[in-house]
């Protein structure tokens, strides 16, 4: 914790300055989020809920700034490339699916 109170006349001191990102950087950030979670096997609903939830400040900031349509388009685009990884958890599968599946599944469909 800083020992002194911020000196408002000190140009180096952080007193709640916001460094806004331009639209290009925000778009790039949205792609990074979408790609990352698509690669980890999250589906469309899960990734979109991440963007819509204010708890996730970075993703939600991009959602607010770029709008729902743009975010949906980014998510769909990323899912089309990286969303082919399907992870199946045998424990939560139906008995029929469990019989044909293993616990270490990385399947591209």
């Amino acid at each position: 914790m800083p020992y002194n109170d911020p000196d408002p006349t000190d140009p180096n001191m952080l007193v709640g300055v916001m460094l806004p990102a331009d639209a290009e950087a925000t778009t790039e950030m949205a792609y990074v989020f979408a790609e990352e979670f698509a690669r980890m096997g999250h589906d469309r609903r899960q990734i979109l809920s991440l963007f819509k939830n204010p708890f996730y400040g970075g993703a939600h900031g991009a959602y607010q700034s770029l709008g729902e349509t743009a975010i949906e388009s980014i998510v769909d685009e990323c899912l089309a490339v990286w969303g082919t990884v399907v992870i199946r958890d045998r424990d939560s599968c139906s008995p029929e699916a469990r019989a044909t599946s293993t616990n270490t599944v990385l399947r591209r469909e």
């Binding site: 109170d5 990102a21 290009e24 792609y31 958890d89 616990n103």
Partner: protein, 421 residues
């Protein structure tokens, strides 16, 4: 002052000593896109080298949250401001990044920390710099999720709890160690010549017997990676874990091993190596050395603040999501090309990126064995094709260290024994 060539700024520059280069140079690449600021590197270094009395404030390896964080606070901003003051409005680059190995990022037309004579005080000083205050050294990760109390109430946390501050803007984590520069500012500034660069691996060390604690190195290093120790009254700095680099660790049987901070990296952002140097300070062409490939062929990794003029040997793959102006200031004009290559990696780059942190041995050469096409798709108008190639890493003795594939298997543990191995 001698006239030396600095390939990172694409021109000759002044330096207090004649140029001298090691046979091999300690160098590293950090992929910022992967860093999660877990501070494993920080603690690996701390628990190995700086856990003694008098070293409490010393963090040879640290990870800071940019743009606000810094250890010491404002280290980069303050040096940039000093240079701007010395050469107002003229700290600019000209030309464009290209194939010329003498100036791969274009030419820096401003002045370096060695060329700001009119700003130097006293006149005998050789390098433009400043001595950070004690307070600036006190908070190594300031502004990163600090618990705070009610506004206006000092020394007391909020009893009812407060909402943590939201990151409403961009940020990224910058992992740092000493850059073991080719033109070290610490070495240039030392009046006792207590700092030297080893001819075998380019590691920059402070001779503890020679140092008298004048702190000229602390003042001069623009990266603020030399630190003063009050109880011994000498300065200390990152030693690049040189016993490991020399192969003295019994685990490797005499083969060079990467530093503690590299091997502890959970995010797999780090790779360290020993690159071959020419007598003129350029890197010897070593096409299948992963560092040579990333820095000089793919040009995906860039030096940190090349405009300072010290020719740092730490290189960074810049974060994709950060505004480009900020990145260009930090990594020079090669940023756009580097991000383009990283975002749409070709077959070879994808394979080389898989080499990070599969082993604690230093990789001297890699080889790629082509595998089948796994799939292809289009992202942002660009075609992406993924091949399941195998990349093989070789050590100094030419023996294979490991091999890995592009398409990694994913293992999911059963719910019943989720925590068992």
């Amino acid at each position: 002052m001698a006239n030396v060539h600095n390939w990172q700024i694409g021109r000759e520059m002044n330096y207090p000593y004649e140029a001298a280069f090691p046979k091999r140079q300690f160098a590293f690449v950090f992929n910022i896109n992967r860093c999660i600021a877990c501070q494993s590197c920080t603690m690996a270094c701390k628990s190995t080298w700086t856990f003694n009395k008098g070293q409490e404030h010393m963090w040879w390896a640290n990870v800071e949250t940019k743009p606000y964080g810094g250890y010491p606070q404002f280290w980069d901003m303050k040096t940039l401001e000093l240079l701007e003051k010395a050469n107002p409005g003229a700290q600019n680059w000209s030309g464009k990044p290209g194939a010329d190995k003498k100036q791969p990022y274009g030419k820096f037309d401003g002045i370096t920390v060695f060329e700001a004579q009119k700003m130097l005080t006293p006149d005998s000083a050789r390098v433009l710099g400043y001595l950070p205050t004690d307070e600036e050294w006190n908070s190594p990760n300031i502004y990163e999720d600090n618990p705070v109390g009610k506004k206006g109430v000092r020394g007391e946390l909020d009893k009812e709890g407060v909402e943590l501050p939201e990151h409403k803007t961009w940020f990224f984590y910058l992992a740092r160690i000493c850059n073991h520069c080719s033109y070290p500012a610490c070495l240039a500034a030392c009046p006792r010549k207590a700092i030297y660069k080893r001819p075998e691996d380019g590691i920059v060390l402070i001779d503890q017997e020679q140092c008298r604690g004048y702190r000229k190195c602390v003042e001069a290093c623009p990266y603020k990676k030399t630190m003063y120790r009050g109880n011994t009254r000498v300065s200390e700095k990152c030693i690049a874990c040189y016993p490991r680099v020399e192969g003295k660790d019994p685990e490797t049987g005499g083969q060079p091993m990467e530093t503690r901070c590299m091997t502890a990296c959970i995010g797999q952002i780090r790779m360290q190596g020993l690159v071959k140097m020419n007598r003129d300070g350029s890197w010897t062409e070593d096409r299948y050395n992963p560092l040579y490939y990333m820095i000089h062929v793919a040009k995906v990794a860039l030096p940190l603040y090349p405009q300072f003029g010290t020719s740092p040997n730490g290189f960074y793959i810049p974060p994709r999501w950060v505004p480009r102006d900020y990145l260009r200031q930090m990594f020079g004009p090669g940023v756009d090309e580097a991000i383009e290559r990283y975002t749409y990696p070709d077959r070879e780059l994808l394979a080389v990126l898989q080499l990070f942190r599969r082993s604690n041995r230093i990789i001297f050469r890699y080889q790629i064995k082509e595998g089948p096409k796994v799939y292809e798709a289009t992202l942002r108008g660009r075609k992406i094709t993924l091949y399941n190639d195998t990349v093989i890493a070789y050590g100094q003795d030419g023996k294979e260290i490991f091999r890995t594939t592009i398409d990694e298997p994913l293992h999911v543990r059963p719910g019943k024994h989720a925590n068992s191995i």
